[in-house]
């Protein structure tokens, strides 16, 4: 009855352009400029610069600083950064790890991965308003963090992986704590599973095509959820000895990422448990001096969000000439501008969260 007022020509409406982030309850650390046609996103631009700390420049002040800064590259995965840096220095000095130290590193990296994934699950479930699952994941995250703290100390003081090995041996009660977490996880798997309504929200959300993901330099769970078997750990002998097989998802959407994360939490905890049982004897660390060797070396670690690498260039002096870090988050953020087009505004926080961006790591 009111439609008579409508002109018979096409309906020309205006787009609503809005900022989304950096201070948004759902998206923090990056700013999106969303162009909304109705409630549907028709263009998304990413703006960075809210988490830049100039870490790489700071790392040039000395080896001690560089080692400390390596564990600050991704604040949510300090040990992965430290491991990448340690491997770079070890490659410079051509040092070998003892079997015990290698196994201990596996344990801490896997425990860190489990904790990070659980935090991701809790966050995504919270955004989905799947409150029981969010609470469960949060609870498990706290338990995993406690176990992590047993090994490496309180968060913020986590310099445990050092060039040449690890800073201290694993405490005796770590294994018990770990199996406790694992048991709790087994009991909670049902609760972590998404109900049908939540699954419908995640289905097809932030769909990443495998080929495109490779092209853009994606890594970690984002890439593996598309079915691409890319995992640094497959090339590691220690991991192979522990029976590691990468978990793969299919579909590449947020739902695939969710189930991949759930599976990887279990896998990570099991790997950590295996790594800590029957530890080979030996020293946990050797002294690996960074001063006196010149050259360029690179070290990698598979962090919770994907491959983290550290590149060290030195002339053998008291401070590195250049330390560079690289992680997958920048590539993942780059995917966003394609992923968000066509999705509803209500799905934007979910889509952003499902990529598990660490803007600290992306901007360094």
């Amino acid at each position: 009855m009111h439609a008579r007022q409508a002109p018979t020509r096409e309906m020309a409406t205006e787009d609503l352009v809005t900022w989304f982030g950096p201070e948004h309850p759902a998206v923090s650390g990056l700013r999106l400029q969303l162009t909304l046609d109705g409630e549907q996103v028709s263009a998304a631009e990413i703006e960075l610069g809210y988490r830049h700390r100039g870490l790489e420049k700071l790392a040039e002040r000395g080896w001690e600083q560089a080692a400390a800064i390596a564990s600050q590259v991704d604040p949510r995965a300090p040990h992965a950064g430290a491991a990448a840096y340690a491997r770079a220095v070890e490659a410079l000095a051509k040092a070998e790890l003892s079997g015990r130290a290698a196994r201990l590193r596996v344990a801490i990296l896997e425990l860190e991965r489990a904790a990070s994934h659980l935090a991701w699950l809790a966050n995504l479930a919270r955004l989905l308003e799947a409150r029981p699952a969010a609470r469960l994941a949060g609870h498990l995250y706290r338990r995993a963090s406690t176990a992590l703290a047993l090994l490496a100390g309180a968060p913020g003081a986590q310099r445990w992986i050092v060039p040449g090995g690890v800073a201290a041996d694993a405490p005796a009660d770590l294994l018990r704590a770990l199996s406790g977490v694992l048991d709790a996880l087994r009991g909670a798997l049902d609760g972590l599973r998404m109900d049908r309504l939540a699954e419908r929200r995640l289905n097809g959300l932030a769909l990443v095509d495998g080929g495109r993901a490779l092209e853009m330099g994606a890594a970690g769970p984002v890439l593996r959820a598309t079915g691409v078997p890319h995992d640094l750990r497959t090339s590691s002998e220690v991991y192979r000895a522990l029976g590691f097989e990468p978990v793969l998802g299919s579909g590449g959407d947020a739902r695939a990422r969710y189930s991949l994360h759930v599976a990887e939490v279990g896998q990570a905890l099991t790997l950590a448990q295996r790594a800590l049982t029957d530890l080979p004897r030996g020293a946990v660390a050797e002294k690996v001096p960074a001063i006196g060797v010149a050259g360029l070396a690179r070290g990698h670690a598979e962090g919770p969000r994907g491959e983290l690498s550290a590149t060290v260039l030195t002339d053998g002096g008291e401070r590195p000439l250049r330390v560079a870090f690289r992680g997958p988050s920048l590539a993942h953020a780059g995917l966003l501008s394609e992923l968000l087009v066509g999705s509803m505004l209500a799905d934007v926080p979910l889509a952003v969260a499902s990529l598990d961006l660490s803007m600290e790591e992306a901007e360094r």
């Binding site: 009855m1 409406t13 205006e14 809005t18 982030g21 201070e23 998206v27 046609d37 109705g38 066509g342």
Partner: protein
């Protein structure tokens, strides 16, 4: 009956007065910076009151039709028991026609979100 409405009118006036009183007594914000609308922490730059594309366009149209229908339903419901079968058959036809309307709108994708 008008007694009832006189009381309700008192309620209406009281509600308006109460809300206005609370607003009048409220402490006013003086810092102009605080008056910037929330837009994720950035100053708002783009036009807000745009010609927004209302995507539930079709549903809105169908809604008006059904809103009208409700007007018929309530008097019918009140006398339903008294009139009996005739009223039932009457409403049956009524609802059947409406169901056709719903089915048609559904089939034509009026309830699907436009992509």
């Amino acid at each position: 009956m008008s007694d009832n409405y006189a009381v309700l009118a008192t309620f209406l006036l009281a509600g308006v007065a109460l809300a206005m009183l609370v607003l009048a007594l409220a402490r006013k914000q003086e810092a102009p910076k605080a008056a910037e609308p929330f837009e994720s922490g950035s100053p708002s730059e783009h036009k807000t009151w745009v010609q927004f594309r209302v995507r539930y366009f079709l549903i809105a149209l169908v809604f008006v039709a059904f809103d009208m229908e409700m007007v018929y339903m309530f008097p019918w419901a009140v006398v339903f028991k008294r009139v009996g079968l005739v009223a039932f058959m009457d409403m049956f036809v009524f609802i059947a026609v409406l169901a056709v309307a719903i089915a048609y709108a559904w089939k034509e994708g009026a309830f699907e979100w436009e992509r």
